[in-house]
Symmetry: C2
Subunit: 160 residues, 2 copies
DNA sequence: GAGAACGGGTAACATAATAACGTCTCTCAC
DNA sequence: GTGAGAGACGTTATTATGTTACCCGTTCTC
């Protein structure tokens, strides 16, 4: 059996979700941030999904499943909060959001997105960001933020 | 005077545009591709702009300036053609398009986007893509396409 | 308890992209 | 030549995504 990264294995990862939420609770408490019910729920939904989740997907769940009267601003405000505080990432090539695997310190990961199962694997490779910063420096450009989104096949979806 | 990359210098670069169009003519002729008037005009507009251009910006020019009756599909079809044949790139973090600086061979560049002057500088650094491919390989991921979009300050906009 | 700050609901709007269908015009085999 | 097929593009409508402006109630602060 080929080894499969966590992110793409179709399993019940409710414990992952739970620990991510607990971690968020701690981090927000420590910084005096208000992880309100709505924000926590949005974070939960993003974590529950095995693939990047669109804002309108979240919206649909809040309306249909939670019975909450939600409109776009509701979702985007919650997402803005989560983004600002490093609890989720935005994948701009998909217009979608994923839970951050390494919250608690400012960073911008790199993402491997499987075109088959749509899982997003977060990396945090210094070698990549260093290569970028160094190449930018060569043309006098100062890097402030990086977007690295890679499409391909995850180990579980190769040769299927 | 600080040295300034071509892309961000506010100069008349009509000769750049002209040579890019000529090059496109040659490339398309060589491959039996039809660089129609519309497609050529869209390519020209993308090149004329000093910054990444949105599809609806192009649409506005076609309608207002050229007097052509254009709707979104018109523009998107032309852009699709140009994208497929490596004549322009799409910047997904901006939902916008830039002319390709190295047409004629398949590649996906890296982009440095100045948050001040909005210029986009295209890189094609093997060191960056190699770092990505190698890190992906470590988790069993096979890379098919890369999106690298970096925000920061170009040399001309620093310390202003 | 006045008032600022914040969270969040509501409506409308703005921007980005696609679907589906029709017409015209090439080109090429015949 | 000519007509069948393919490609380019116009047209209309619709979907997807993201933002603005405004309001209201709660909470925090003094």
């Amino acid at each position: 059996m080929p080894k499969t990264p966590i992110a793409s294995r179709p399993h019940d990862h409710s414990h992952c979700v739970h620990s991510a939420l607990s971690e968020a609770d701690v981090l927000c408490a420590r910084q005096g941030l208000r992880l309100t019910a709505l924000r926590r729920r949005v974070l939960e939904l993003v974590w529950q999904s095995h693939k990047p989740l669109g804002a309108y997907d979240i919206l649909a769940v809040l309306s249909e499943q939670d019975g909450r009267r939600a409109a776009p601003p509701t979702v985007y405000r919650a997402l803005d909060f989560l983004l600002e505080n490093g609890l989720v990432h935005r994948i701009s090539s998909l217009n979608a959001f994923v839970g951050c695997n390494h919250p608690g310190h400012a960073h911008q990961g790199q993402f491997l997105i499987c075109r088959e199962c749509h899982a997003a694997i977060e990396l945090e490779q210094k070698s990549i960001s260093d290569a970028i910063i160094s190449s930018a420096k060569d043309v006098g450009f100062v890097v402030e933020g990086q977007t690295v989104e890679v499409v391909g096949l995850c180990s579980g979806c190769q040769g299927v």
